[in-house]
Symmetry: C2
Subunit: 404 residues, 2 copies
């Protein structure tokens, strides 16, 4: 039902906004991001949708048909040095599915809205567009938000002529939200499946652990008299890794993404240190258990070393979210037709806009394979056949959902 | 025999060159460092010594008496934010002892030379002055040496009107070298001793260990598929600490002074990491054993994690050096008179100019207590009584050495 050629052509046109080598540099509120949003608004209008850029920069193409409407899309902003498909793929799927359903006499009565969220990639505030739409942004998150170019969020929005006030989920009667996305991992490639129907999006905890000891001379200070902040950080990092390995669930991942010592000189015992720990799991109870273990191990390490250790959350806790079972089943039924015996159900290990939409309406997601599992990198890619198959799956599922 | 008032006054005058709060900022080849060297040259001349600033900036005051001469001194440059006594104390001890011995009819026939070495604190090249004097500087060390102000060593020397060529140890017949220094640790304060007679200066190895893995998404990359450079660094750091704790000698110290992850973001598995490891011991065989253990543990960790690990020395290996037993005994005999029952023999855990002099002539050192064990800090201090006692100990030992 969709037009594969037109779909791929629009996807490649969106890529030209910020194209850099094989990748794309299109962070939210940049000149190319705003130009891409204006282009998307025009594409929605060309498709006969009521096109609008809201006050935070989200682009909507609303069906003139009465609801309940199915909202389909993703985000069109990228990482500072991003791939061409992360977000952009789901945006053009939304455009093509809304357009194709309007064009076909069989489905022209159905209400499909398309959307391109802003700032999922956290140039200013993580998932700003979808969270603002869902009324899930706390005012204090906006105050100090500053982009890579030094502008505040308020300045970036003012420069773009935006009011800062988004459209809201409760202004229209929605049947649900669908998002297509690249997997950003290698599970599909490893299993040979072509479509992953998402069951849940994992929750995450990110924390900064700070160590405060006593800076001193690395030669003249005997081991027994040291309060070495760096060594306490190393020992706690290893203890957390070992303990998480014992407690791990099937899908648990944990990462020490950063570690820093001060002053960081070869002949000086570090007086302070910090590490950033993140862990993710679809099970909220396991996330709580891990948090407790980190606190227990930190207290033990502090007692053993005389180094003060504090733990602070880095950003908000992300709670695991289940996708809607009815939408999951509609997507699975569609996948069984577009990819017979080559689709699977799976959790998402990455955050997506659908996590927030799921708190306001039924939400569903699918993944298409990432070549080599690579994302957030210029090398990010997916085959044309897989891209088209995902779009067709969303289109088929949309009709099933709206007809039931 | 020495003049305590004159000694302390000269020490305080030297402090004024670069005085900053209670500390001193007098890095080598800075304007205040060069002014202090001109002042020292004039003090040596006033004391009846043949005063000269050599081509690297070392200041000598040579006795007109024939040798063998006893050379006494330390360095007059400081850390970027240094204390007032580190180096300066031993320089003024050299001035006062050479002066007092010349003045006293009983000792006026003895040959005592005074010296103020340059760049012990490594603004350009660690222990440059004393190592150049001993012909221990490799030409390639000088090529890229650059100071904190961005000047190369050659530029700094040219700005100071210096040739770059130092005086040499073999241009005069030396009986030995004596250095007085603050302890820079708290062993004397803890034991209640007032003089520490140095037996040996510990050797040190410093190495940068680099980890190269695979940068990836911290959510979508399962634990079993990771090659996490950061976690390999944490685990190896902990394994080294644990193993060194089993092998340790009485005086062994080890420090991970720095650790860095790239790219250092909470949601990204580090693709590369590095840590800086330093360990010190007076026993060369134990230093070699530790080096072997680091290499063995790194190979095991690389095999276990799939992360490439390389080990590179950071600067030159510092070999442990014994002080001369005859000079040690002369210093001990003097200390037994200036600090009856309150002196001890001890190794030095820090590098000093005497390490290099010891390769060319008999060398001896004493320590005086550091209040609170603090050094390389504006708060560095020692009581006047302890400062004077150290100077008198060097003077008494000098006479014993030159009379035997």
């Amino acid at each position: 039902m969709i037009d594969p050629g037109r779909f791929l052509e629009d996807l490649r046109t969106l890529r030209t906004f910020g194209a850099t080598g094989t990748g794309v540099v299109r962070p939210s509120y940049s000149e190319v991001d705003l130009a891409a949003r204006a282009w998307l608004r025009d594409r929605y209008a060309d498709a006969g949708l009521k096109a609008e850029i809201d006050g935070v920069g989200n682009v909507f193409g609303r069906s003139p048909n009465p609801g309940p409407a199915l909202l389909i899309g993703s985000h069109s902003d990228t990482q500072p040095t991003g791939g061409w498909l992360d977000g952009a793929y789901g945006v053009i799927v939304g455009l093509e599915v809304a357009r194709a359903i309007r064009e076909s006499p069989d489905t022209a009565d159905l209400a499909v809205d398309a959307v391109a969220w802003i700032d999922e990639e956290s140039t200013y505030v993580s998932c700003l567009g979808s969270r603002a739409f869902c009324d899930l942004v706390e005012p204090d998150e906006l105050v100090d938000a500053t982009g890579l170019d030094g502008r505040t969020l308020a300045e970036a929005q003012a420069d773009a002529g935006l009011s800062g006030t988004s459209a809201r989920w409760d202004e229209r009667n929605y049947a649900g939200f669908l998002e297509a996305h690249i997997e950003q991992g290698s599970a599909l490639e490893a299993s040979g499946d072509l479509i992953g129907v998402v069951t849940a999006i994992v929750g995450a905890r990110t924390m900064v652990i700070r160590f405060s000891g006593q800076q001193n001379h690395a030669g003249t200070t005997p081991m027994r008299l040291r309060r070495d902040a760096g060594m306490a950080a190393v020992r706690l990092g290893q203890a957390i890794d070992a303990r998480f390995g014992e407690l791990t669930g099937e899908r648990t991942v944990w990462t020490i993404g950063d570690m820093r010592f001060e002053p960081g000189a070869s002949s000086i015992i570090p007086g302070s240190a910090q590490l950033t720990l993140q862990f993710r799991d679809p099970d909220a109870a396991l996330l709580a258990r891990f948090t407790d273990e980190v606190e227990r191990l930190a207290a033990e390490m502090s007692a053993a070393t005389g180094v003060d250790i504090t733990i602070e959350p880095d950003g908000r806790a992300i709670e695991p979210v289940d996708m809607d079972p009815t939408l999951h089943d509609a997507l699975a039924a569609a996948a069984a037709e577009t990819a017979p015996d080559r689709w699977t159900s799976m959790p998402s290990a990455a955050v997506h806009d659908a996590m927030f939409l799921a708190t306001r309406m039924p939400a569903g997601m699918i993944f298409v394979p990432s070549i080599g599992g690579i994302s957030h990198d210029f090398a990010e890619d997916t085959s044309d056949a897989d891209l088209v198959r995902g779009a067709q799956t969303i289109a088929d599922a949309a009709v099933k959902i709206l007809r039931n």
